[in-house]
């Protein structure tokens, strides 16, 4: 029988996600929360909640005794760990067993053996799963790392044994990088997992990350639910996932699925698990690791299979059988997931924290948003910067992509910086649309960072038409101001100039019963919208096509976001536009002489001293934020004039770290 009360030992979107299934199944829910999460969405969603105290996860969500205590306190009989935190922690699993509580996840043995990357490879190899050439034992020191790497052949990847999520991973292309990478990976592994063991393997070029979702029950039934492609990653952190993969053929899919099931059987797996593979251009695939938990990106599998994986996990944990067999698993349609992170793509994706001053999720056909935040909530420095996941589903990949673009246009987040523009830009990227993905996609295509000012002609015309229509609305309202001279009331002119970025467009506006007609570039654009003054989202039909733009306007400017573009527009009278040629172009204050902290964080190291001369690309400082070490590099050759901060300082965003001559 299914249990009565489930405690979710997690926070954020995944806690909310699990609660919603539990509620549907009629299971009572218990949330746990840290002091920092007092007002978090998941707390409000559960039937009961228990404060774990503390701020950081190490003081709260990671403290096994506190979770156990919460179970006792509330009488919860099962615990779902979500992902991250204690989800793959063997000690936690064992402690629950001892306490007589059900763990919604695999058995201890599976967690232990798959949790160690070295052991897992050995088991996989034995089970007939393809594995990558490499040295699967623990590397003892930098010299050893160099020796091992030479044997495998560069490039190599140095990875934390206990790792995940990109932490404690370094690629080395030569001996020097290998030594440095070993040190870094060890340090990060110690900081993140409390375990500094690392290993080394062959680094595969043009790799694609493809993973298989497996499900196994306690009755020996094992099946696979197709694949997910998660090649769009930034610094080993997944950004876009999809199911199915545009790359796999049926034979490869089956081979991967069967090997995955073989591995699951080999470790006596039960519950949801994911077998991650790396695939090369020839569709060779190699086992990477098995994640013994629900994956972040599980919703895409849910969309294409129609199954609720959390429900299945609960059924399995309570001793039930898998509800279907392999033949009943049919992949239908296409699903995409975009991870919305609180990080600024215009500042090299530095994490951003703060209060969600404005927040509104998109809705629509084939759109699902899994989120753990609410307007007025706090994105704190203590946890993962992922705010939400946008999942779209369509009959084919094209439809899923189009729905994703529209959903992202309508996702309104203010108060913290976020990567939505970047996600939108990915959706419009020709190589993404063509499905030519590798895990280096972002590094290759955005080598010089992301620029949100790039805009296609068509998109810019849409933006201009909409801005013209909004301006028209504003003027029409201004014309209703009280106190005007009778008989000389203001009647707004119809000719205007719209300046968008560096371009200018002459427009003529008229409104009639269907909407605002904008004469622009010799065409008439009909803009129909129910937009109300002050609303940040403009949902409109432009020449019959549905568009969503985000607009913030003041007396002078309209700040627009649309399809990955962030641009400022101004509407001037033709005379003002004409006179603006006389204005002086003012150079912004030159900040290139300063190295500024791109985010709030801790200054972990400074690699230079005053008077030192540095080369372009040389590392100058490391700032730690959200458990990630972020290196700051010299943008140009130069000499350090002075250091303005010292190691150990807590830095504010834009704080000057050092000054160049």
């Amino acid at each position: 029988m299914v249990f009565n009360k489930i405690l979710v030992a997690n926070r954020g979107e995944i806690a909310c996600r699990i609660f919603s299934t539990a509620k549907r199944l009629g299971i009572a829910t218990v949330a746990v929360f840290s002091d920092a999460d007092r007002h978090a969405r998941h707390v409000g969603m559960a039937d009961e909640s228990v404060n774990l105290g503390g701020q950081s996860s190490a003081e709260s969500y990671l403290v096994i005794e506190k979770i156990l205590h919460a179970c006792r306190q509330t009488g919860a009989d099962a615990v779902h760990p979500g992902y991250g935190f204690l989800s793959e922690n063997a000690e936690f699993r064992a402690a629950l067993d001892t306490a007589g509580l059900v763990f919604v996840g695999p058995a201890l043995h599976a967690i232990k053996s798959m949790g160690d990357k070295i052991t897992s490879k050995l088991i996989a190899k034995k089970a007939g799963v393809n594995t990558i050439p490499g040295y699967t034992d623990v590397v003892v020191d930098a010299d050893h790392a160099v020796a091992v790497s030479a044997e495998i052949g560069y490039p190599v990847m140095i990875k934390a044994s206990a790792g995940g999520g990109g932490k404690g991973m370094r690629v080395a292309w030569d001996e020097a990088a290998c030594r440095e990478g070993f040190q870094r990976a060890t340090n990060e592994a110690r900081a993140s997992f409390g375990d500094d063991r690392v290993f080394i393997e062959k680094f595969i070029q043009e790799p694609r990350h493809i993973e298989i979702q497996v499900m196994a029950d306690t009755h020996g039934n094992v099946l696979y639910l197709g694949e997910r492609e998660c090649s769009i990653q930034r610094r080993h952190q997944k950004v876009i996932e999809e199911a199915p993969s545009p790359f796999l053929d049926e034979a490869t899919r089956r081979a991967m699925g069967e090997q995955s099931c073989a591995l699951a059987r080999a470790v006596g797996y039960q519950s949801a698990g994911t077998v991650e593979f790396i695939a090369d251009a020839e569709r060779n695939f190699y086992f990477l690791e098995m994640n013994t938990r629900l994956q972040v990106e599980h919703p895409v599998t849910e969309c294409v299979t129609g199954f609720d994986l959390v429900e299945w996990m609960i059924i399995i944990a309570s001793g039930g059988c898998l509800p279907v067999n392999q033949d009943a698993v049919v992949l239908k349609g296409w699903a995409l997931e975009a991870r919305v992170y609180a990080e600024d793509p215009l500042r090299n994706f530095m994490p951003s924290t703060g209060r969600l001053v404005g927040y509104c999720e998109p809705e629509g056909e084939g759109v699902r948003v899994d989120s753990g935040v609410i307007e007025g909530g706090e994105v704190s420095i203590y946890y993962d910067p992922m705010i939400a996941k946008v999942i779209t589903y369509g009959a084919d990949r094209g439809e899923a992509v189009e729905r994703m673009s529209t959903a992202l246009d309508g996702y309104y987040i203010r108060g913290v910086n976020h990567n939505i523009s970047f996600l939108s830009a990915l959706m419009g990227h020709p190589r993404f649309i063509a499905g030519r993905l590798t895990t280096n996609f972002i590094a290759d295509e955005y080598a010089d960072g992301f620029n949100a000012a790039h805009v296609s002609t068509e998109d810019s015309l849409v933006m201009v038409a909409v801005v013209a229509a909004l301006h028209h609305r504003k003027m029409a309202r201004a014309a209703l101001l009280s106190g005007q001279l009778e008989g000389r009331e203001y009647s707004p002119p119809s000719d205007w100039m719209v300046l968008l970025g560096a371009q200018s467009f002459s427009v003529q506006m008229h409104s009639d019963t269907s909407g605002v007609r904008v004469l622009l570039a010799n065409d008439e654009w009909l803009v129909e919208t129910k937009w109300r003054l002050g609303e940040p989202l403009v949902k409109a039909k432009v020449n019959g096509r549905d568009v969503i733009l985000q607009v913030e306007s003041n007396e002078i400017t309209f700040c627009l976001r649309y399809r990955g573009t962030e641009l400022e527009a101004r509407v001037l009278s033709p005379r003002a536009a004409e006179l603006s040629v006389h204005l002086l172009h003012k150079e912004p204050v030159d900040m290139s002489k300063f190295l500024i902290s791109p985010m709030p964080g801790l200054l972990v190291s400074l690699s230079v001293e005053a008077g030192a001369s540095v080369k372009k690309g040389q590392e100058l400082a490391v700032v730690e934020a959200m458990k990630m070490e972020n290196s700051l590099y010299a943008a140009d050759d130069g000499t350090i004039l002075m250091l303005s901060a010292t190691v150990g300082d807590t830095l504010a965003v834009d704080q000057v770290i050092l000054e160049f001559e």
Partner: protein
């Protein structure tokens, strides 16, 4: 007759050309528009009616009789902004450097007199090198004539100055008296004495920009209310700004229709005030979420940032906002903040603009700098302004309202019409720590006792209840309902009528 018309056309042509093409080009090269171009952008198209285009100076000294330019360096008249009447003068730097002559001053005075008679705002676009030195005391007299009118018009019609070029010496006192002064960055500067004189007298080396540029006056001195990037932005913004103001002191604040509903709730406000009483939050968010369409026209953005002032609209009607800003100096009242807010409150009172005061104030700023600087008198200005004010006054305490600062910030005792509080409000003589250390001085050595006294004090005073039991707070409201409650209160107060006792004038502690 034909001849006269031809002559007239010639004179007009000359007036339009001001100081000539060469000087117009020089003006443009500095990134500045001409006096007439500025009026074109400020006023509704074709609404400008010019007066005294043919006025010329009457100076015969220093060969001035050789040079006559019709208009004499200032373009004056009236027109409309958004269909509403305004009187304007725009100094023409291309004509004698915009220097003020007797005739130039007379033109300005004429339009000011007329504006007073019909009750319409006066807008000055200043771009002048100063007094017409050749005219000597006649020019000085001209300044004083303008000042006298500025003073008489004060509180009768709104007066706005947009400084778009130099404004030095005596000339600065006209903008100083007007209700609002705006400046254009990099081209405008204002000072009583210029950098050369400063150097001679005090040996200080300072550039005109540092001494009296837009950045200086909007962040250091507080002389100017806003700085704009260039002439065009400044003029467009001024058009928007004047939409907030009534034409004169007998007219109601202007109103326009809005799509934003009065009962809009904002759940995010419920979490705006952090649990930790020492953690700051941005009061702007409360203002933006209360305001129609999330629009706030803030003034003096970079000066005395511990207090926020500016205009919003509620149900389409202008409301003046004064708010403590916990992000800066914990929202303490100091000399600059008191002066900044006091003058704004008096403007609103003079022009029938209701006031919304958002309070999170731990008190007045302590220290010798403040005491020696006269915080007693300057703080009293704010107190005086609130106390004498008769327009509708709505006060919302979001968190701290401690000590004398509680009294000052539009409290019930100063005739606050509707005084509301959020549940996070703490109304007390001082914060728990300070209070306990005074009341229980004998227990100071005993940490445990002090802690228990602090808890006791918090339970008693760190909430809005005592004040509401006494009726000092009319109601404790949930933050998400704030807009609705404020809007209702304003609607109720629309016909408020209150008069102060007859007097020649009060004696505000200057």
């Amino acid at each position: 007759m034909q001849d006269i018309i031809r002559q007239l056309e010639q004179k007009r042509q000359a007036a339009r050309l001001g100081g000539g093409q060469r000087r117009i080009d020089a003006q443009h090269a500095k990134g500045k528009l001409t006096a007439r171009e500025r009026l074109e952008l400020l006023l509704d198209a074709h609404s400008f009616e010019e007066w005294d285009m043919l006025v010329e100076h009457r100076c015969h000294d220093f060969n001035m009789q050789q040079t006559h330019i019709p208009g004499d360096g200032v373009v004056t008249g009236y027109g409309t902004i958004n269909g509403r009447l305004v009187f304007v003068y725009s100094q023409d730097f291309t004509v004698f450097g915009g220097a003020l002559s007797e005739a130039h001053a007379e033109k300005i005075c004429k339009l000011m007199d007329q504006a007073m008679k019909v009750g319409a705002p006066i807008i000055g676009l200043n771009d002048s090198g100063g007094a017409r030195i050749q005219e000597g005391v006649a020019s000085l007299g001209g300044y004083a004539d303008v000042f006298q009118r500025n003073v008489l018009a004060s509180g009768v019609v709104p007066q706005l100055s947009l400084v778009m070029g130099p404004c030095a010496g005596g000339a600065v006192y006209s903008p100083a008296i007007t209700d609002f002064t705006f400046m254009v960055k990099d081209s405008a500067y204002m000072f009583v004495t210029g950098p050369e004189v400063v150097k001679t007298v005090t040996h200080e080396e300072v550039s005109a920009e540092q001494l009296g540029g837009a950045r200086t006056h909007t962040s250091v001195s507080g002389v100017a209310d806003l700085a704009f990037e260039n002439d065009i932005e400044a003029l467009i913004s001024l058009r928007h700004f004047i939409n907030f103001l009534p034409a004169n002191n007998r007219e109601r604040a202007p109103r326009w229709p809005t799509d934003d509903t009065a009962d809009r709730q904002d759940l995010a406000l419920d979490t705006l005030v952090p649990e930790d009483p020492n953690k700051p939050y941005d009061m702007h968010e409360a203002i933006l979420k209360i305001a129609d369409e999330g629009a706030f026209f803030e003034l003096q953005v970079n000066y005395a940032k511990n207090i926020i002032i500016g205009f919003i609209r509620i149900e389409g009607t202008t409301v003046g906002v004064v708010a403590n800003q916990p992000m800066v100096l914990a929202g303490c009242l100091d000399i600059d903040a008191s002066r900044k807010a006091a003058r704004f409150i008096r403007f609103c009172d003079a022009f029938n603009i209701s006031l919304l005061t958002l309070v999170d104030v731990p008190g007045f700023m302590p220290g010798t700098a403040q005491e020696y600087g006269g915080i007693i008198k300057h703080g009293a200005k704010l107190l005086y302004a609130y106390a004498e004010c008769t327009v509708p006054k709505i006060t919302l305490i979001t968190r701290k309202a401690y000590g004398g600062a509680y009294d000052v910030m539009s409290s019930k005792h100063l005739r606050g019409d509707v005084n509301l509080a959020w549940p996070s409000a703490e109304i007390a003589v001082m914060g728990p720590k300070g209070a306990v250390e005074i009341i229980f001085r004998k227990d100071l050595h005993d940490q445990a006792k002090i802690a228990s006294h602090t808890e006791e004090y918090k339970a008693k005073f760190a909430n809005p209840f005592i004040a509401s039991e006494r009726g000092y707070i009319d109601d404790v409201i949930l933050p998400h309902n704030t807009r609705q409650r404020v809007a209702r209160s304003l609607a109720m107060l629309r016909n408020k009528s209150l008069e102060n006792p007859w007097r020649k004038h009060g004696n505000i502690p200057l």
